[in-house]
C-alpha cells in the first residue's frame, strides 16, 4: 500500500459523516417540499356535506348539463305563458272540458209553457 493509498483510505474513513445541523436543514427542506406536495383540505369546508348534490350534478352531465336543463325549463315556462299561434292553448289542454250552451228559440219556449198548462 502506497502513502497515497493510505491517505485515500483515511479520507474514506470520514466520508459517511454528515454534520447533524446539515442533516436537520436537509430534513427541514424535505418537510417543506412534502407540505407543498400534499393537498390540504380547505379549512371550514365539509367536502362530504355536498356529496348528494355533487352526485346529482354529475348525473345531469355537470354544469354544462345543468345549463341546458335550465334553458329548457325557461323555454317551457315562456311557451306556457305566451304560446305561439300554431300551438293549442295549454290551458285548454290541461283543463280539458269546454262549456257548451244550448239556446232555445222564442217559439219553443212558448210551446213549453203552454204544455205545462
Amino acid at each position: 500500500m502506497t502513502d497515497l493509498d493510505r491517505m485515500l483510505h483515511a479520507a474514506r474513513a470520514g466520508r459517511d459523516d454528515l454534520p447533524e445541523a446539515l442533516a436537520q436543514r436537509m430534513l427541514a427542506d424535505a418537510a417543506g417540499v412534502q407540505a407543498s406536495l400534499t393537498p390540504r383540505p380547505v379549512p371550514g369546508r365539509d367536502l362530504h356535506a355536498h356529496g348528494a348534490w355533487r352526485a346529482l350534478l354529475a348525473a345531469l352531465g355537470g354544469w354544462r348539463g345543468m345549463g341546458g336543463l335550465a334553458t329548457a325549463c325557461a323555454a317551457g315556462v315562456w311557451i306556457g305563458v305566451a304560446p305561439p299561434e300554431f300551438l293549442p292553448d295549454p290551458a285548454q289542454l290541461v283543463l280539458g272540458a269546454q262549456t257548451e250552451t244550448e239556446t232555445l228559440g222564442f217559439y219553443d219556449l212558448a210551446d213549453i209553457i203552454s204544455e205545462d198548462g
Partner: protein
C-alpha cells in the same frame, strides 16, 4: 447522522431501494425523507467537501443538491438512472458553478484546518494526512479531481463515474490515472511530515 446503505448503491444491503424511497417521499412519507437523508446526504456532502475543499461551501452545495432531489421526487421516472448517480451529477454541477463564480480564490488557502478533536497523536496525524491529501487534490484540474474523488474516495465503478461525468469509461480511466500520478508526485516530499516514516 447515521447512514443507511442503499439497495441500489455501491454497498447493497437490506431496505427499500432509493427509488422506492423517493416514491414514498413524494407521497408525503416523512420516514422516507429521513432514510434518504441518511443514505444520500453524506454522499453529497463528502463529494462536495473533497471537490470544493471548503466545509461551509460543501454544506451549502449538499443542502442544495438534496433540495433539488426533494423537488424532483414527484417527477422521477422509474428506471431512468440510479438516484445516487443523479445526485452525484447534480452535486458536481453545483460545485462547478461555485468554482466558476469564485475563480479569484487563492487555492493555497482552501484546505480546512482539522476539526476540533481529541489531541491524540494518531488522530492528529490522520487529520494531517487528510488535509495534505485535500491540499493536493485542490491542485488537480477540476475533472481529474472529480474523477479521483468519485473513484478512490466514493469508490464508484468507472462506468458509473462515466455516467455521472458524461464521458466515456476510457476517459475516466485516463483522468483517474493521471490524477493519482499527480497526487503521488505532490505528496512524495511529505512522508516524514505526515508520519509515514514512523509507521512504515
Amino acid at each position: 447522522m447515521e447512514r443507511r446503505a442503499s439497495t441500489d448503491g455501491p454497498a447493497e444491503a437490506a431496505g427499500p431501494a432509493d427509488e422506492a424511497l423517493l416514491r414514498l417521499f413524494a407521497k408525503g412519507d416523512p420516514q422516507a425523507a429521513r432514510d434518504l437523508t441518511g443514505r444520500l446526504g453524506p454522499r453529497a456532502f463528502s463529494v462536495a467537501l473533497r471537490v470544493l475543499g471548503n466545509r461551509a461551501e460543501a454544506e451549502d452545495v449538499a443542502q442544495e443538491a438534496m433540495m433539488r432531489l426533494w423537488r424532483m421526487a414527484p417527477e422521477w421516472e422509474p428506471g431512468r438512472a440510479r438516484v445516487s448517480t443523479w445526485l452525484y451529477r447534480v452535486t458536481l454541477n453545483l460545485c462547478l458553478d461555485r468554482k466558476r463564480r469564485a475563480q479569484a480564490v487563492d487555492l493555497g488557502t482552501v484546505p480546512e484546518p482539522p476539526d476540533e478533536a481529541p489531541p491524540a497523536i494518531e488522530v492528529l496525524q490522520q487529520a494531517a494526512r487528510v488535509d495534505a491529501l485535500q491540499a493536493a487534490l485542490m491542485h488537480l484540474p477540476d475533472r481529474q479531481r472529480q474523477a479521483v474523488v468519485l473513484r478512490h474516495i466514493e469508490e464508484l465503478s468507472n462506468p458509473e463515474i462515466a455516467e455521472i461525468m458524461g464521458i466515456g469509461v476510457e476517459a475516466v480511466e485516463s483522468l483517474t490515472a493521471r490524477g493519482k500520478r499527480a497526487l503521488a508526485g505532490q505528496l512524495a516530499g511529505q512522508r516524514a511530515a505526515l508520519g509515514y516514516d514512523d509507521d512504515g
